[in-house]
């Protein structure tokens, strides 16, 4: 019963939004805005086994690989930049410069170096690394000064210092970055498939758009939502394990927070 309630609590707003969308679109009958029921039909048609293997699976593979690489790079560089003033001074401006270049304008760079048909993975990595990087820098810089002193006094090894003190202190912020990066990877997967690609969700999305197939376009957008939701849920599970030590995850804190 409790479970059922919780489930209802989580999905009620979503369900209401879908119903409202259905009613609004039915009333407006705008050619670009399809009602959910029509989208669902298109979805069943489009996410067939064929496009599953040709468009969805390869894209997801690139997405997850790109995200993972971005996460590793982001955390490693973030810790480096967060704890070393020299590194921050030297590399900070380059990163802030690169970070600000809109991904579509980077196509010439990738096209000239890795080739336009092979640039999907680099584009994802390049775009998804920033939230992790910036948030990790923030977390790594924010290690409580008494804890820094404690670590110095006890002559912790480099590994202990980085893995045992800096990383755990930064971890909540790192997770905020990881979740942002994850959705960013999905978005970049789509963007990277708009040019130079022969398949993928982005390719199909662009095709549906160019063909004035509104339900089809919505179906691909919904697929992105579904994927984003799924990956995010998995990441949250991981986060809950990794941050189990936090007082906020204790039963006591949860009761407090909910006003109990």
């Amino acid at each position: 019963m409790n479970r059922l309630l919780r489930f209802a609590h989580r999905w009620i707003v979503f369900a209401v939004a879908v119903v409202v969308w259905e009613l609004l679109t039915r009333a407006a009958a705008h050619p670009y805005f399809s009602p959910p029921s029509t989208i669902a039909e298109a979805a069943v048609r489009l996410w067939s086994s064929d496009s599953l293997t040709e468009d969805i699976v390869p894209g997801i593979g690139r997405l997850l690989l790109g995200w993972a690489v971005a996460a590793v790079i982001g955390v490693v560089l973030g810790v480096l930049l967060g704890r070393s003033n020299t590194a921050r001074l030297a590399l900070g401006p380059v990163f802030n410069f690169l970070r600000s270049i809109p991904p579509p304008l980077l196509v010439p760079f990738f096209a000239a170096t890795v080739g336009i048909t092979r640039m999907q993975l680099p584009v994802i990595i390049f775009g998804a690394v920033w939230p992790v990087l910036l948030n990790t820098v923030d977390g790594a810089r924010g290690v409580d000064s008494t804890k820094v002193d404690t670590a110095r006094v006890f002559k912790l090894s480099r590994a202990q210092w980085l893995l045992g003190v800096v990383l755990p202190s930064a971890l909540p912020k790192v997770f905020a970055g990881l979740r942002l990066s994850l959705s960013m990877s999905l978005i970049l997967m789509v963007i990277s498939e708009l040019v130079g690609s022969l398949n993928g969700i982005g390719y199909q999305l662009a095709l549906a758009k160019d063909n004035y197939d509104a339900p089809g376009m919505w179906a691909w957008i919904v697929l992105l939502g579904v994927l984003g939701y799924l990956f995010n849920s998995l990441l949250l599970l991981l986060e809950r394990r990794a941050l189990a030590w936090q007082p906020r995850h204790s039963l006591e804190a949860r009761a407090l927070a909910t006003g109990g």
Binding site: P108, G196, D213
Partner: protein
């Protein structure tokens, strides 16, 4: 709305002509969606010469990124008259997304305007090599893939085996060079650029055989607008036609290429200038619809004549 802010929109950019003849047209201020391509050179010529102003029109060119964006703008009512490559409005019409009228023809391909090119060392040397090769195009379901497919089909080549890779024209050239594609379908001025810059050679012409003299692009408006503003449309048509007919004079049109399509001076001298049509004929544009139908882009039959709003019928 936010677009009221001049700094943001820069909406004073390029508006010309204030000689309003007064009351002659329903709507004197119109926004025309255009692309930075050679097809619209006469439009800009008309604008610069004040042909629109003489007709009592204050025309604001809105430079959009693609025919699709132009069509979207017209559908939303933000753009009054939209320039586009034909496939986009025909496709929109066929899906009953919106009811379009074609108000003017822009450009008709002639030999050398749309060409499949490749580098000399590419395995793509002639049309029959195409199956299994990667060929760069701008987008699926545009002239860049429909025209070559049609030609390949006529020559009995299995066009379904060609891998069409979408990308922008500038990216096609290094893509051919680093062998990520075997060839590219380019349209002027890119034909000239590709040959000049990297020594690309033509594989076959995209405007030959079944696609010879193919209409490439035109100006469209939604029927709601054309019904409400017949005089405006007529005035636009008159001004544009005047410019289109003068476009045979290279010296008049070349500066437009440089100024608005950002073609560099030397290339502009070399480009093949296609035909700027001065009339609007349903049966010619119907060829595009038929081509699209043939390759299953348009499902069912589309009667283009119902879409035509020729100056004659519009009088």
């Amino acid at each position: 709305s936010l677009s009221g802010c001049g700094l943001l929109g820069g909406d004073d950019a390029g508006s010309t002509g204030t000689q309003n003849t007064g009351g002659a047209v329903e709507k004197s201020k119109i926004r025309v969606g255009v692309l930075p391509v050679v097809d619209v050179a006469p439009f800009y010529y008309a604008l610069e010469q004040g042909y629109f102003a003489k007709e009592g029109l204050e025309v604001e060119p809105v430079v959009v990124a693609s025919g699709k964006a132009s069509i979207d703008g017209a559908t939303g009512g933000d753009i009054d008259i939209a320039f586009a490559s034909y496939p986009a409005p025909l496709l929109a019409q066929s899906t009953k997304t919106v009811d379009f009228k074609i108000v003017a023809d822009a450009l008709t391909a002639k030999q050398g305007h749309i060409v499949v090119v490749a580098l000399p060392d590419s395995p793509l040397k002639k049309a029959t090599d195409a199956p299994g090769k990667k060929i760069a195009i701008t987008q699926r379901n545009t002239m860049t893939d429909l025209a070559p497919m049609s030609i390949l089909k006529t020559e009995g080549v299995d066009y379904s085996q060609v891998q069409f890779v979408p990308m922008s024209f500038p990216d096609m050239i290094p893509a051919m060079q680093n062998h990520t594609v075997d060839g590219a379908v380019v349209v002027e001025p890119w034909v000239t650029t590709a040959m000049k810059k990297v020594g690309a050679v033509p594989v076959f012409d995209g405007a030959s055989g079944p696609t010879a003299e193919m209409p490439m692009s035109g100006y469209v408006a939604v029927s709601k607008f054309t019904n409400a503003n017949p005089k405006t449309i007529a005035a636009f048509q008159r001004a544009l036609t005047k410019a289109q007919s003068e476009a045979t004079d290279r010296s008049k049109i070349e500066p437009m290429f440089v100024k608005y399509a950002k073609v560099d001076q030397e290339t502009a001298k070399l480009v093949t200038v296609a035909t700027y049509s001065t009339s609007l004929e349903a049966n010619r544009i119907q060829r595009v619809a038929n081509l699209m139908q043939e390759f299953d882009v348009i499902k069912g039959k589309l009667d283009v004549s119902a879409m035509i709003l020729s100056p004659a019928t519009n009088k």
